[in-house]
């Protein structure tokens, strides 16, 4: 895959705009824009990870919010128990370098089990079963009263990153942005690798892939696990951003919104997920400011996007 010069221009401009966001927010006197920017970066990571499944491998998972939520709760639960632990564990349980990798590994490990089950089905059943399993995790966290149940779990302070003050929202925004850039570069690399080529082949023609001697299952499962792990990272950032994890993060509407972000950005376009996520985050903020019944506007927009806009934002911005 090679980006066209127009696409490179769009990317450079977008990232420059993002990098300059704290100054812009300061200039217009809207510091809340920084948080909105962080949120866009976090959702972009989650959407990009889902695009690896939906867009590249052709597996429309309707349960991706589960991994986002599990990543968030991994960080939240470890911090919750930090006080009860003796040294050095009490310190490690709030360190980003120790906890964030766990927020990747826990969802990835669970995804290996759930994915192995879900991948026994395909098509519509796959959509239904991923939704159902994600809802299972949702009910689990609602029932876990120790960790707040319905009300969610508050994170007393952000995970410790050396050199960054825990309450510095601008610094945390750059952490999110850096994570987004790293994830996108990683996914781009994976897409162009032998592994990515196989995923492409499975999406386009699974029957042919089998007929040339490839068993698709391990590759699909690997994509499922990788995708869940990256979503877990997004969850770790999310819980740090708002210092709060709630079952809403695992709710099926979140899975639906992630799917919308991917399609809105341009299915399978890698970079598109970022634009889809940003558009949804901004749309939410704008509509919510305008009316409490913002979903009545969002719903028809979704229907229109699906029926009319086939190429997605990346296709419109970057040309094809």
């Amino acid at each position: 895959m090679r980006e066209s010069s127009r696409q490179i221009f769009v990317l450079v401009a977008s990232f420059a705009l993002l990098a300059a966001l704290p100054w812009i927010a300061g200039a217009v006197g809207r510091p809340d824009l920084v948080t909105l920017g962080s949120q866009a970066c976090v959702m972009a990571i989650a959407a990009a990870s889902l695009d690896l499944l939906m867009g590249r491998t052709g597996l429309p998972s309707f349960g991706h919010a589960a991994w986002l939520g599990l990543g968030a709760y991994t960080v939240g639960i470890l911090a919750f128990h930090a006080r009860d632990l003796g040294p050095p564990w009490d310190q490690w349980a709030v360190q980003a370098w120790a906890v964030w990798p766990l927020a990747v590994l826990v969802p990835a490990a669970l995804a290996a089990v759930i994915g192995a089950l879900c991948l026994r089905t395909s098509g519509i059943s796959f959509i239904m079963i991923t939704l159902a399993f994600a809802q299972m995790f949702f009910f689990l966290f609602v029932a876990l009263k120790t960790y707040g149940g319905d009300d969610g779990l508050t994170l007393r302070r952000r995970s410790t990153i050396p050199g960054i003050a825990p309450r510095d929202d601008v610094a945390f925004f750059y952490v999110c942005l850096a994570a987004l850039v790293l994830v996108l570069l990683l996914l781009r690399r994976v897409a162009a690798s032998r592994f990515g080529t196989v995923l492409d082949g499975i999406r386009q023609n699974e029957r042919r892939m089998m007929a040339i001697g490839l068993s698709p299952f391990p590759y699909k499962l690997a994509a499922f696990v990788l995708s869940a792990g990256i979503a877990g990272l997004a969850g770790a950032l999310h819980v740090n951003l708002f210092r709060f994890a709630s079952p809403d993060l695992l709710h099926w509407t979140m899975s639906g919104e992630l799917m919308v972000m991917v399609v809105l950005g341009g299915l399978g376009s890698l970079w598109g997920a970022m634009f889809g996520a940003a558009a949804m985050v901004v749309l939410h903020a704008v509509l919510a400011q305008w009316t409490e019944h913002w979903q009545i506007v969002l719903g028809p927009i979704l229907v229109a996007v699906v029926l009319l806009a086939r190429r997605g934002l990346w296709g419109a911005l970057g040309g094809k």
């Binding site: 026994r120 159902a132 399993f133 609602v142 799917m259 009545i296 699906v306």
Partner: protein
């Protein structure tokens, strides 16, 4: 023993409701190849229309009629306006567009009726309880639901296996092109099938309303359980929908009924209740996982 019998009947009643939902969803999938997330919204609309009309008129039967017609009419309007454009699209587009429909319906209902749940209990002539066996009283209304649901299931069976419409439906499920070639006006057939599915969802909503709080979000909760039913039963199969619905209805009801009490034997009461509630919500999903390990295409796959 008394409790067990009562819970078994509750399980049967929930299973019957799930069947009404699953039958519509699986018919629409089997014939039109459409996955319709908004099926839960039709259930919700049926429940709201019925509760509202019951409260306005004081008549349960008028309420039921309102619930059925609201769901069927809105369902067919939805099919004509949006969903028929999705038949030829891939499942992902169908999921996303009907997801948009859900958001719209939920918010519209919240704007019209508010966020407070509507409560309309069963009518006086269906209230109270009868002793099904000596010493075991059971609510009449739930018995009425079970009877209605079983009657509908029998009616569906006759419709699909014995009538000309049913023949078209069965043919449509396996040979979509063939039905077109027979000169049947396929658009009309599709709208009718969709209307039937919507009617069943509306019936489920209207009947369930008096048992639960009628509120926004009730549709999705049952929709996801219905998905579990369909995955277990086998996509596109009415027989599978019936078997899956009964299985899920029983497992869900029995675990909810007995698990917390069982856990109390080993855990402090409050923890046992919370954990029991959590594990019971997960029970049907675990059931689904087990069935999938054993039979990836469900118990009664439609196209063997």
């Amino acid at each position: 023993m008394t409790l067990l019998l009562e819970q078994l009947l509750n399980g049967l009643q929930f299973g019957v409701m799930l069947f009404l939902m699953a039958a519509g969803l699986t018919l629409v999938f089997g014939i039109m190849g459409l996955i319709n997330l908004a099926h839960g919204s039709l259930y919700m609309i049926g429940a709201y229309a019925a509760a509202w009309a019951t409260l306005q008129t004081g008549s349960f039967l008028l309420g039921l009629l309102a619930g059925l017609s609201a769901a069927a009419v809105l369902g067919m309007a939805l099919e004509a306006a949006i969903l028929r454009r999705l038949y030829a699209r891939d499942h992902l587009d169908q999921v996303l567009a009907t997801f948009g429909v859900i958001l719209f319906c939920n918010e519209a209902v919240a704007m019209i009726f508010g966020r407070q749940p509507l409560m309309a209990g069963p009518p006086p002539w269906l209230s109270g309880a009868v002793e099904i066996v000596p010493g075991v009283p059971y609510p009449v209304y739930r018995l009425a639901i079970i009877a209605t649901g079983l009657l509908v299931a029998a009616g569906l069976y006759v419709l699909i296996s014995r009538t000309r419409i049913g023949m078209l439906v069965r043919a449509g499920a396996t040979h979509r092109e063939l039905v077109g070639a027979l000169g049947v006006r396929i658009g009309l057939l599709y709208t009718a099938v969709f209307g039937l599915g919507a009617l069943l969802a509306g019936l489920a909503g209207a009947l369930t309303g008096p048992l639960l709080a009628v509120q926004v979000g009730m549709g999705e909760r049952i929709l996801i359980t219905t998905f579990v039913v369909i995955v277990i039963g086998g996509l596109g199969s009415i027989r599978g929908a019936l078997a899956g619905a009964m299985l899920v209805g029983m497992v869900d009801t029995l675990t909810r009924g007995f698990l917390p009490a069982t856990l109390r034997a080993v855990l402090p009461a409050s923890e046992a209740d919370a954990l029991g509630a959590g594990l019971s919500s997960m029970a049907v999903f675990i059931l689904m996982a087990i069935v999938l390990l054993w039979r990836p295409r469900g118990l009664f796959p439609a196209h063997a």
